[in-house]
């Protein structure tokens, strides 16, 4: 298969993408926002990236990436042979190297099988550095589809008991499925609430989940604004959440990046320091 960019991905340098699935169990914790932002950040760092929306029937990733109006074909069209894979891919004109493979809106999860996802990803692998899959909430078919092709899994949780409980369930399921240990993003942290003891601290989350932390993202009103505009917050320079997502992208690439100190608050900074110091 030819490279999608028609540019630097062709030639004798053969890429083989890492497939990373972003999941959570619970809905509404920020999977889609995380997928869109990490994908954009990885592309900004010079990688060829495709984001796949595996949430067939409840597609959102196209909205968050601001690409809805350009959808012609989707994942189900590809699987059912109504179009070629590259016809369904949407190139993000703002960010070089960033593509979206949208979900179908008028179908449901049963239109896709885990082996379909593996086939689609295998076809994409040679042309990309990273394939990010936005998993639907839940532990049923849609989740199975999303994790089937994954080389690694990132779990998004909020610092709140029900999302931690669901994340724990997901980790157990991934272990049974022979996937490697997932990594964790704690999203939407409100430092002042942690300080007041009204929110779980990140330490409490890690205490239960016992997996590696790959990023902490503060609650940031800018995320809502940029989501509504379909403009990932990583593309803005002055947003704390944007910086957090950029850091996650760099950690995915294997760089050592210190954890953000969320300025407003001493308590959180205190334990972040502790985490940095005593993390290993």
């Amino acid at each position: 298969m030819q490279g999608f960019t028609g540019g630097d991905s062709q030639g004798f340098c053969h890429m083989s993408a890492r497939v990373i699935t972003i999941t959570s169990g619970k809905g509404g914790v920020g999977k889609t926002t995380a997928t869109a932002n990490i994908a954009a950040a990885l592309a900004q760092l010079g990688n060829q990236v495709v984001a796949i929306d595996a949430d067939v029937g409840l597609r959102n990733l196209d909205l968050v990436m601001g690409l809805e109006n350009r959808i012609v074909y989707d994942l189900v069209d590809v699987i059912e042979g109504r179009c070629r894979l590259r016809q369904a891919m949407i190139r993000d004109k703002r960010t070089d190297g960033l593509y979206l493979l949208p979900a179908a809106q008028t179908r449901d999860k049963t239109a896709v099988s885990p082996s379909d996802m593996v086939l689609v990803c295998d076809e994409l692998r040679p042309s990309f550095d990273y394939i990010l899959i936005d998993s639907p909430a839940g532990i049923e078919r849609g989740f199975r589809n999303a994790i089937a092709p994954a080389d690694e899994v990132i779990i998004v949780s909020n610092a709140e008991v029900s999302s931690v409980r669901d994340a724990d369930r997901i980790i157990g399921l991934l272990q049974a499925d022979e996937k490697g240990a997932p990594r964790l993003i704690v999203n939407r942290i409100k430092p002042d609430m942690v300080a007041a003891g009204d929110m779980l601290a990140i330490g409490d989350v890690l205490d239960v989940l016992m997996i590696e932390l790959i990023g902490t993202v503060p609650e940031d009103d800018q995320v809502i604004v940029s989501t509504n505009r379909g403009f990932p917050v990583v593309l803005e320079n002055h947003s704390l959440a944007g910086e957090a997502f950029r850091n996650i992208a760099r950690r995915i690439r294997g760089e050592e990046v210190p954890f953000l100190s969320l300025q407003q608050n001493r308590g959180l900074r205190g334990w972040l320091k502790k985490l940095r110091g005593g993390g290993k």
């Binding site: 724990d168 369930r169 157990g172 049974a176």
Partner: protein
């Protein structure tokens, strides 16, 4: 490799197949999985007509089996006209893999009855994977954390090396020992043994049951510095106290 495989295939001694109330119970025994499958294959081939149509409950003990392994087992049974219906395991990953394949992980009738805190006596011989050779309950050792949605049940005592997270469940005919933080639901003495105990390095279960009694952790328990504790029934209520080897060691 091939000759090794064949040599092992002859030795089917530790595969046991016995009739239970709702089908056949097949115990895989110890040794390399590939050899066990070969032994099972040989055994089923020899007595094929006898087992055909059987509903199989596979007992794998501590062996850790992946989804792929279990699919292979199901395939092996179906080749011989049998249906793999349930897997009894002491390994939480195996249990999850089995559940992922929509296989049962308990014998029929043994699950829901436990939730009320009281167990009908006729369920005794149906619960759990670990029934020893003489009908004596076996002790079960579980390595690794039990996460939300994972469950271990046994006729005998259960020891877990690792945490029991909120949303996980441990049910034992005897005592439950957790070398880690106990935060899920635990039921010791599930058949009515009021002398059963529960102990943990950090005892903060969502709910703790001994025999027919139920209690919850006091809120303070989650705030103070954790110490190893042991819970038992005393004067018709469940009490938890700090572990003291001098006091409890000779029990």
């Amino acid at each position: 490799m091939v000759s090794h495989y064949n040599a092992q295939a002859m030795e089917s001694g530790s595969i046991t197949i016995k009739g239970i109330r709702d089908g056949l119970q097949v115990t895989l025994g110890d040794g390399e999985l590939v050899d066990r499958f070969a032994a099972l294959e040989a055994r089923l081939r020899d007595q094929n007509a006898f087992f055909r149509g059987g509903e199989v409950t596979l007992v794998v003990g501590y062996r850790s089996m992946t989804r792929t392994n279990l699919e292979a087992a199901a395939e092996l049974f179906s080749r011989h006209g049998m249906n793999l219906r349930a897997v009894l395991s002491q390994d939480s990953g195996t249990l999850d893999a089995a559940q992922g394949l929509k296989l049962g992980t308990r014998l029929a009738g043994s699950g829901s009855g436990l939730s009320g805190g009281q167990v009908r006596s006729d369920e005794r011989e149906l619960v759990g994977p670990g029934i020893g050779p003489e009908g004596q309950p076996e002790a079960v050792l579980v390595w690794g954390a039990l996460r939300s949605g994972q469950a271990v049940s046994s006729d005998g005592h259960v020891t877990i090396i690792g945490d029991v997270n909120p949303g996980a469940e441990v049910i034992a005919g005897g005592a439950v020992v957790v070398w880690g933080r106990l935060r899920g639901v635990v039921h010791a003495g599930a058949f009515g043994d009021r002398t059963a105990v529960v102990c943990a390095l950090e005892l903060a279960p969502t709910q703790l049951r001994i025999a027919e009694m139920i209690t919850v952790s006091p809120v303070e328990a989650r705030l103070r510095k954790p110490v190893p504790e042991i819970a038992s029934i005393r004067d018709r209520q469940i009490v938890a106290e700090r572990w003291d080897a001098g006091l409890h060691g000779r029990r």
